[in-house]
Amino acid sequence: MFDLETAAHPQTLRRVAIDPVSRVEGHGKVTLLLDDDNQVHQVRLHIVEFRGFEVFIEGRPYWEVPVTVQRLCGICPVSHHLAAVKAMDLIAGAKQIPPTAEKLRRLMHYGQVLQSHALHFFHLCSPDLLLGFDSDFTRRHILTVAEQHPEIAKQGILLRKFGQEVIRHTAGKRIHGTGAVPGGMNKALTVAERDALRREVDQMIVWSRGAVNLVKQMHLTKPEFYNRFGEFDSNLMGLVDERGALDFYHGGLRATDANRNILFDHLDYARYEEVIDEQAKPWSYMKFPHLRALGEEKGWYRVGPLARVAAADFLSTELANQERTEMMAVGNGRPPHGTLLYHWARLIEVLHSAELIRDLLDDPEILGTDLMADLSPQREGIREAVGVIEAPRGTLFHHYRVGEDDLVKFCNLIVSTTNNNQAMNEAIRHVARTFFDGREVTEGLLNHIEVAIRAYDPCLSCATHALGKMPLEVDLVAPDGQLISRRRRNLEGVA
């Protein structure tokens, strides 16, 4: 039983709900059960929307899947595109793809990591970090950041735009790209496209370094707060290459304990089911994965920027690795575990991605035209395959079985946010224990909960989006169900 997951006598407690959690993708809500003295007894992050990804995919031809899965998520379609195509390479009979094809996929992926992280930091989190967790919530958004820190806001937009240009040049289109196909790539990078990106990438590296310095200075100014906010021990997981360096695109699975002792290393990710189990709980649609060997209570883990940067031995680019060394020093010999360090690690990954993009653009092989593996018409009969990448939010698993008719019969996805499910719950429980107990609940305090969730950049849902969505409401309800108060944030940001 996890501390604060389930109250002993919930019927005697009052309930506070944050529904939906703001500035995260999709529909999640947080509930807190408090007693009359405002002592916290239960805290849960619920995912209240069933996604049905697997049903959406099953029955489709395997070669169509890398394109179709992009419709699962409007936030990271490239991640699904690449995880799926890595699995479908094997189904198509391509154990290896040509070097240029892999480099183009990597380029696309690094562009995705860069643009996703830039959006998250500059648009979604900088309002909390630059304006303050308790600042006026009607002005706690990117437009106020743009007023008060115009250069930072502009750099964030241009970094994101650059990442999207990388995707466009490699995927062929801004969205619904078809660049990666089972067996390789179907679009080469032209000299003009390479040169256009090369002209800008050095500036992107400069801005990325500036962003790392910005968040680093925040931590150094208030180290106790930044390092301790939402701090708890956990196992860590991520992909590493054969040298132990973080690899966003391909590698073996590494898991460590909270002290960074290796639990397993260079594990073929096709064997993920041997080491990872998923548990369902009645109060959330999102499952709770954990390492089988350690069990549910001790085997849960974190993925994503902080987890994989810490789990790896080093980063393969010079500037990013220097920054990693500085960040790791915060832990005094242990991996840092503070939730807000996800921001620091995320910006190190922005810098790492920009450096990786530069290095690929300087590689003559990136302009090659040998893009497809030789696919034998008589395939070897591989009907089941797994594709894994390090998506911006963490390790992403795609697992497929394909029938003799080439249609997908089985599909299992463990998305990055699901891997962090228990960690996000632990983070908000830690924050509730630290900041809530015995205090009156205010919007600023509730935002502390949201800050903890946003640090993981969760993608709770999908690409659906339409004007007229529900506003944020926070209800305070008495044990008998009577509504005591309601705080409402409408589209104009008015309470």
Partner: protein, 167 residues
């Protein structure tokens, strides 16, 4: 009210049209489908941009535009559609990474240091948005009605005429 007279502009104006949504989520396809229909018309001066969601960088796509049109599906909005002029405002959605048109216009103002071009929103009401769901019959009817309006607007890229069509 009588229809305003149709006058071809003296110079071909640049109209940037955004359509966003997920074509695999039922009525969320309205924005992209409206955009596809407009592209088929091949009107001069019209630049179309499709995306899953509206985001900060779309402010940069508006640079140099004389008029901007946002096409999206709506939930709980007026049926069959609403057409209104959007102004820069610090509005934000509570639940997603996506921005509202008004917020993108504000980002333009902040980043470019000048007022954004006149911008209008056509929001067609949808009913069902589940992954893998087809479009609802009623939304298909609304979509067909809205296609004509989009083509008319983009064939007459005049802010005065557009304002006269606001409902």
């Amino acid at each position: 009210m009588s229809e305003p007279p149709v006058r071809p502009p003296k110079v071909v104006a640049k109209v940037v049209v955004f359509g966003w949504g997920n074509t695999s989520r039922g009525d969320d396809a309205i924005g992209p489908l409206l955009l596809a229909d407009l592209e088929a018309a091949q009107l001069p001066g019209v630049e179309t941009i499709e995306d899953f969601q509206l985001q900060i960088e779309h402010a940069l796509d508006m640079v140099g535009a004389d008029l901007v049109l946002f096409l999206d599906a709506g939930t709980q909005t007026a049926a069959p559609y609403v057409f209104y002029e959007a102004k820069p405002a610090g509005v934000f959605t509570a639940s997603t990474h996506a921005l509202l048109p008004e917020a993108v216009l504000s980002v333009y103002r902040q980043v470019q240091g000048q007022e954004p071009p006149p911008a209008f929103v056509l929001c067609v009401r949808g009913e069902q948005f589940g992954l893998g769901e087809p479009m609802s019959e009623v939304a298909i009817e609304r979509l067909e009605a809205a296609k004509g309006l989009v083509r008319e607007l983009c064939a007459q890229p005049d802010v005065g005429l557009w304002r006269a069509r606001v409902v």
